[in-house]
Symmetry: C2
Subunit: 587 residues, 2 copies
Amino acid sequence: MLYKKRTHTCGELRALHIGQSITLTGWVDTRRDLGGVIFIDVRDRYGKTQVVFNPQNHEAIHALAKELRTEFVISVSGTVEKRPAGTENAKLLTGEIDVLADGLTILNKAETTPFPIEDKLDTNEDLRLKYRYLDLRRAPMQQNLLLRHKMYQITRRYFDEHNFIEVETPILMKSTPEGARDFLVPSRINPGKFYALPQSPQTYKQILMVAGYDRYFQIVKCFRDEDLRADRQLEFTQIDVEMSFVDEIDIQTIVEGLMQRFMKEIKGIDVITPFPRLTYKEAIEGYGSDKPDLRFDLKFSDFSAMVKDSGFKVFADNVKKGGVVAGFTVPGGASYTRNQMDNLVEFTKSLGVGGLAYIKLTEKGIETAIEKFLGAELCKNICDIAGAKTGDLVLIISDAWQKAYTTLGVLRLEMAKRLNLIDDNKWNLHWVVDFPMFDYSEEEKRHVAMHHPFTSPKPEDAHLLDTDATKARARAYDLVMNGNEIAGGSIRIYDSALQSKVFGLLGIGPEEAKMKFGFMLDAFRFGAPPHGGIAFGLDRMAMLFAGVKSIRDVIAFPKTASGISLMDENPSEVDKKQLDELHIKLK
Amino acid sequence: MLYKKRTHTCGELRALHIGQSITLTGWVDTRRDLGGVIFIDVRDRYGKTQVVFNPQNHEAIHALAKELRTEFVISVSGTVEKRPAGTENAKLLTGEIDVLADGLTILNKAETTPFPIEDKLDTNEDLRLKYRYLDLRRAPMQQNLLLRHKMYQITRRYFDEHNFIEVETPILMKSTPEGARDFLVPSRINPGKFYALPQSPQTYKQILMVAGYDRYFQIVKCFRDEDLRADRQLEFTQIDVEMSFVDEIDIQTIVEGLMQRFMKEIKGIDVITPFPRLTYKEAIEGYGSDKPDLRFDLKFSDFSAMVKDSGFKVFADNVKKGGVVAGFTVPGGASYTRNQMDNLVEFTKSLGVGGLAYIKLTEKGIETAIEKFLGAELCKNICDIAGAKTGDLVLIISDAWQKAYTTLGVLRLEMAKRLNLIDDNKWNLHWVVDFPMFDYSEEEKRHVAMHHPFTSPKPEDAHLLDTDATKARARAYDLVMNGNEIAGGSIRIYDSALQSKVFGLLGIGPEEAKMKFGFMLDAFRFGAPPHGGIAFGLDRMAMLFAGVKSIRDVIAFPKTASGISLMDENPSEVDKKQLDELHIKLK
């Protein structure tokens, strides 16, 4: 079909263009027929422009314009005019002008769309996903994808400026499931054998350090066959970084520079570096989370020492067993009704602890059911240590260390929500460092790596690997933004013997280690440099920058929680012939 | 391990640093012990620097340096000195200075490497691939990966500057095998169903145009489960581009701008745009290839009309059946011996044609076996038309159109090699346009798409779809560099009805079309803009720019011709438990 190509985009025309003959191409966004004169807004990625079809100006074109409906694709020509005084549209950048049409080609028609192409859309997400090409026409979705585009460019420019090399690592790699499940890809040429999709390019980027590449980065797709949660996708995007001859500070400094750019170029905010650092222990004991949201305070106090020898057996016994009694102050919480307090106790119990103790500090003094066990003075001391003032409420949990603090952590977030303490315009960035090397998995009856099996212990804790491995701290660090882990990394092991020892602690015997990671152990024997790195979850970071609640809103073609793409209906059944060629059959 | 971090890289020190105390980190590249004084070159990604261990300067450090062997990883400190006159090394950028060591830490030892880390390496490729981390330490491999890095950055900067949006499309998509085989990924959550890895993001990028994104690009991994040839990999990298409201020229102009940048920034060469355009017909009839190498001439002439009514039945009958008699001049070829000519005839026959006719134009006139059939005058006319001068040789093939020209095409390349006509420093870029829509596959007894099923016919040929589809030309174009297709694209169909018709011609019935591409046909009903695009094979382009013969030399971790990664040994066998979870079993 022949048509006039655009001279300008739909977001471009201003008063300075008045009098010019121009052509626009795009979609009919809105259409109004006002007593013979037809007004349409024509829309493209760059904006909207009002076009006027006046029969007195051009009768045939006006007649053709009558056929226009929403989402028709058109090429429209005309003269740029100043809008009559009082009809300017301040909401549009092109709102000073309109275009008096003298040419029109309908490039494609459109059926009525299953939902309107509007910024605020009240339709179920499945319908949006099925007609993703319509959903993606909406301005908020375009802004989200443009944000991602900007993040990609900022990232690559930054690392390029800092002498990093972008290297593509394979998507078809070796299956070495450790933690999450691998996606497998049957090999046609090698019957009975399978490739796996990378959960991360971890081994490749370490190999690149052994190969002397010194500074590597990549924006890369990774894959985990996990049961999906709201903010997870089967495939996700990682900013992947690795450096040689560095320590934690070198890597953190590079990352802080990138975050400064993101904040400046995306949010217009200057952030100060270095970011604060909390140890894992400080984060858990202060905020009940290894990714605490520090946009608000509600910091915990530890009452264990105070109550250890008290007459309150529940508290005292727990402390003697090695547990903790800790809590935090809820400002203004003394005014909570009986009902509100019962509700809070129920919420806390639902988290799996025995109960919630509390002390109200009112004008009349302390009000608490535990006074009869602890005595008034101890209760007052607790309030003092917790920094409670008259009118405040102190919440107290007594349980094992991990359980007590993680419960307090959830309670802290819940109270921040209820008290509206979180300022959405605030951006908090900090590091959590000194993670433990291992978690002990009761389920699997073995140590599991807190970060991953390639993480180096802190030199001063290395001896603990032989005696009390769960006490050993790792050279691992997470970057936390507004209570979300957005990046995690570590200084790696680069010594074959130490790597074998850590594999052993993880229950990966010499045979299995050789089969899965033999090439890395080999590589370490030929001159591996000290190295470390980090990986960012780009999707989640984009979600936070975009201020949206779902990761699917910052991914062009996401999958549902069941791993299904509703638009093109995949996964799908395939021909038996295809399976035959791959030497597999359905169970 | 504690060690001094580098103050400079190994490529950085110059005369201006003389007298400074510095620290380098890197690998021991070479080591010479000259009567008590030890010289090493320490190497990193940035260069090499000579370090001197003199026992008179520092005895303990000199003693430690005795332990150093090739590829040990070290941190070495010392003072930058001017090299004694006459010992400068002009080959090194750091060749004016050396470093007198006063500190040394051995960060890691290295066993003897299975091959030396040298630029020119004479070892078999499998060994290089198994120890890729060593192979990648060699300067030529580092240069190749740095070249790729540069290509990525140039590409993204260019498209970003031109308002293209980078969008990530899914790697887990729908299986729609058409042409090549899909790699399949069994779904655990959806038993019996499979994802496929993309052969290209073709449908997604078209959907993005329907969604109004106007200008899209992505550097993206694509996958084809084909039997591998030397220059193919199971996974490969594509620069993927799509634009709306454009015609061929718009896309070609954008591409030419990118190629100009590549040539300038990588090769330092200014290329002139627009690039020449050949139609498919001109390319085949002129050079016997749809990707002719135009760095040399050897253009064909068509003798069909001249010989059609001649007494040489072989020629005449072939032309009457619709075949062609054509050939080209080999400069200086008249001096070829009988033996050389026999060899050439054999080579030609091995290409599957009946034979090779030829005319030598010597000082004595024409010398040819076909004179007795054609007569001297006709032979002379053939030489005239072929532009042959005394001393030249005219090679002639008589066969069906396709066979005659493709054979001549191979012969043309062969003669160019034998005559050394190809200048490796010459860069030739041109377009081939107006490809046929379809090839008729005798094997499958159906039309197959020459480009892909989404390619639009030329408007003036659209009627041929109903009458003689193989005659219809497509709005398709290839970019050819030095005889290699480096990019291919087309203006797409954006009309549901036309798309269905083309599917029909390809033997994809309404049912199958709906199942495989229903979402695209649907999308076209809601306002699809005119659009088109192109995709570059990045690996092959990198190979050409790097001047290497194998695509594996520009890929960090390539697979062998059997699809195997020798370093980490994949594909590999997996646990039965993994297969069980995926609801599949081995056949």
